[in-house]
Amino acid sequence: MSAADYEVTIGLEIHVQLATRTKMFCGCETSFGDDPNTHTCPRCLGLPGSLPLPNAKAVHFGLMMGLALGSKIAPRSIFHRKNYFYPDLPKGYQISQFDEPLCDGGELGGVRLNRVHLEEDAAKLNHAGGTGRIQGSDASVVDFNRGGTPLAEIVTEPDITSAEQASEWLRLLRVTIRQLGVSDVNMEEGSLRCDANISIRPKGQAELGTKTELKNMNSFRFIERGIKAEVARQVAIVDGGGQVTGETLHFDPRTEAITSMRSKEEAHDYRYFPEPDLVPVVITPDMIEAAKAELPELPLQREDRFIALGVEPGAARTLSWRPELGDLFEAELATDGSQPKALAALITNELLKRIGDGEVTDSKAAPGSLAQLVALTAAGTVSSSGARTVLDTLFASGGDPAAIVEAEGLTAMGGGDELTPIIQAALDANPDVAEKLRTGDMKPIGVIVGFVMKETKGRADGKEVTKVTRQLLGL
């Protein structure tokens, strides 16, 4: 069988560091990039006799996420101890949630959620081996600054069926959380981390295959490549008559190699039990109201609103999944709301092309000038190819669109009289094309339009050229 004969099933587990000022269970400040071990106290060092106390803001952020993702909020949830012995965990356990999480279920972009729960982050191990990887070093230095940072863990149901869908969905989750303002969701800095549970099964088989867990992929590119590599590995095993072993795997983006993290495997016996040092978290109606009051418009809602304005679905998605583009669109629309569809198209096609890998702020176009350009195009003052030339100038140095049209001689030509001699010249210069057109085969009309555009420096309107050509040929 080949890869196409298998169905892929993927579930994601995402850890998000919450943007609180202090840690989950103590008053140490959360930090990134500070000198190691400068944000610790008896609680986050796990010293005997210290007692945890949950951060109200972390609970509030957890509620905002649960509400935004359509989860059921538990009126009362419980912290558990997840026991494993590892130097990044000073207490020998992580305070997490188990069978009574803060948020139960939910859905985002067609993918069902299993839960959202709160827990504390582990410390950071720096491996003295120096390669930055876990394997191959014999001493490690522990930095407890990160230890105890509040985390929300989001677990999906196994509703994802391809690597591409996984990374696209993760982009949606990231922009949704960013919009909520509860996390920086920066993969490079580790404030958004993703593990994937992956299995394959022959098409049509109801029962899911054995899943493997691919750990800690720290960029969208790696997630897509890592999942693809793991699916290929599983297909090769099953095709060769073998069986996939359920295990935890590490993807090395440099070599694309997938290796087993065997030594951590044993620790999977977590022996959860209720954290005796904490009381249940009781969520009052006031807390829910406070979280609801802070919910912003979410990307999917914004997408729907843009579509309702008449924006093409693809453009609406680009604008709402890249909020800075959406904000630009709304700001321009506020100056002239008459052409939402064309304005959205200008921003998501032409402007985005000029931005490339850069930022929206690279554009020098003055506020309102994009909407003006769209209005000039709609009024027929400038052709769409002329408008692209104007946009080049707006992007590079700003200015007034109408003045640029004037200065660069881009005023669109009227129809008929002015165009007729140029089109006649085009037909004369391309007799074979003219012949074909005469028979009603309009395919080579592009040659004529191209000729006219070149002659008029793009001032002509393509539709008008086609119309006049037909008239000239008596069609």
Binding site: N37, C41, A56, K57, Y84, P87, D138, A139, S140, L278
Partner: protein, 94 residues
């Protein structure tokens, strides 16, 4: 009841090294503790709310206000081995 194999498994998870004699002793002691718990679990407790805490405690949340952290020398003073950066441990993967 708890046998030697289970004792060794739990000891491994806790990174404890047990002498052969201790394994037997642990198995006996853990078995008697679990036996005691088993006796309690025979009670009919349907409809009884689990007691999480002896006294009811409300709220139990903390405002997100920073408190001073320990100076790094103090934080590292309890470490069996440390350098200027932090706590040195044997690599868990070595």
């Amino acid at each position: 009841m708890i046998d030697a194999k289970q004792v060794l498994h739990v000891a491994r998870l806790s990174r404890l090294e047990l002498e052969p004699g201790e394994v037997e002793q642990m198995a006996t002691e853990l078995s008697s503790i679990l036996g005691h718990i088993e006796q309690i679990s025979k009670l009919d407790l349907d409809g009884v709310e689990p007691t999480m805490h002896v006294v009811p405690i409300d709220g139990g949340l903390r405002d997100d206000e920073p408190e001073p952290s320990l100076p790094i020398e103090v934080a590292l003073s309890q470490a069996p081995k440390a350098n200027a950066e932090g706590f040195i441990v044997p690599s868990p993967q070595a």
